[in-house]
Symmetry: C2
Subunit: 222 residues, 2 copies
């Protein structure tokens, strides 16, 4: 019972083909984009001296370009911008799946894996567009409210870009799938849904009391 | 304002030294373990033909061993068990940090990065212990309630082990850090806390009505 219906297999290659549970694999841009757009963070994989590193960071998507954000001097951005092979993975956890047997336990999730080679984002106009996309990706409405970056701040911001040309989505949803012979066991089975929930906003200790919580933050949901 | 006080630098090497915002880096086993133990999923990085891959999966820790779970035939487990270099990263997102300037926006998070070489878990006793740890890691109390794995199921379960000897934790917490000259701006600043919340449990459609939700699930929190 896939969460999405598969679309065109445009992002499928032998490197992004889902091998385990192939019915859970999807390769349409729509499915991959939806996961990248909902996830607040991604995990970027890169290789240095044969050793893989996986670093969490913030991203945003504009059309078929995935932007990865960091400090200009960070290893992540330097490697990502160098043209080295990358893997960017975003995962949304939707629930714990409790089967009658330990073996059939699972999780409901949606994950997107994008591979390719990154490039530096050096042009100030593209940098500003990408930074705005990152800001609006995390908190829609914030960009026009906060003080926008100065030229010096733009320079200190690191951004790498990756074209979303080779990717896959993997999705599990729905109830547990127990073996026929386990169905009569007197064990509770089902799904415990999980959701990332915002708590009550905590004002900065130095905030002037007259400044109220903006409506886009009151309405923030994921 | 680090979330934890740094302990002994026992897991620090040049490869795991936090380069950006070094004050956020911690290298004690206690800090690294706490993040691994709270995270429901991790992202495993491995290299194939020079290309990094980052795959989400479930893990558990027993003392200084990190177990990564999957299907026995999966690429992830096959590579992880082969002795190839791995990176296992677990990230907990604690909040959105909204500064008065776009540039100083951030997130509150705790992440742990473990690198090393994996090994296969072949011994059935260790496999059972590790599987129990994975089950109890996700839902404490579930192992003794559900049907435990058969010999055949144990064989189909893939587990790789990684000794936690080279690792780091990176933690950001607390309010935004605005530049002095931005403090008078009329922009709301502060933190929007985020938390993974369980929703109402959804019983399996085939569940006998007499079977009630177990207390360990009613009490489930992260």
């Amino acid at each position: 019972m896939p969460y999405y219906r598969p679309m065109s297999p445009e992002l499928k290659t032998d490197r992004t083909r889902v091998r385990r549970q192939p019915a859970r694999g999807h390769y349409g841009a729509k499915e991959v984009y939806a996961i990248l757009d909902e996830a607040l963070i991604c995990h970027v994989g890169f290789v240095q001296d044969g050793q893989p590193f996986v670093i969490p960071t913030i991203h945003a998507r504009l059309d078929d370009t995935l932007y990865v954000h960091g400090s200009a001097g960070s290893r992540l951005i330097q490697v990502a911008a160098s043209g080295a092979p990358l893997c960017v993975t975003a995962t949304l956890l939707d629930g714990l799946v409790l089967a009658r047997s330990v073996f059939n336990h699972s999780m409901n999730y949606r994950s997107a894996v994008v591979i390719g080679r990154g490039r530096a984002v050096a042009d100030p106009d593209e940098k500003l567009r990408a930074l705005r996309a990152v800001s609006e990706h995390v908190v829609p409405g914030r960009w026009n409210d906060a003080r926008q970056p100065s030229a010096k701040e733009l320079e200190a911001t690191g951004l790498a870009a990756l074209r979303i040309a080779e990717a896959s989505a993997k999705v599990r949803s729905g109830p547990p799938e127990d073996d026929e012979e386990d169905l009569a066991l007197k064990v509770w089975a089902g799904v415990l849904p999980l959701h990332l929930e915002p708590g009550e906003a905590v004002s900065d200790p130095g905030l002037a009391p007259a400044i109220e919580l903006p409506s886009y933050l009151k309405a923030w949901r994921r």
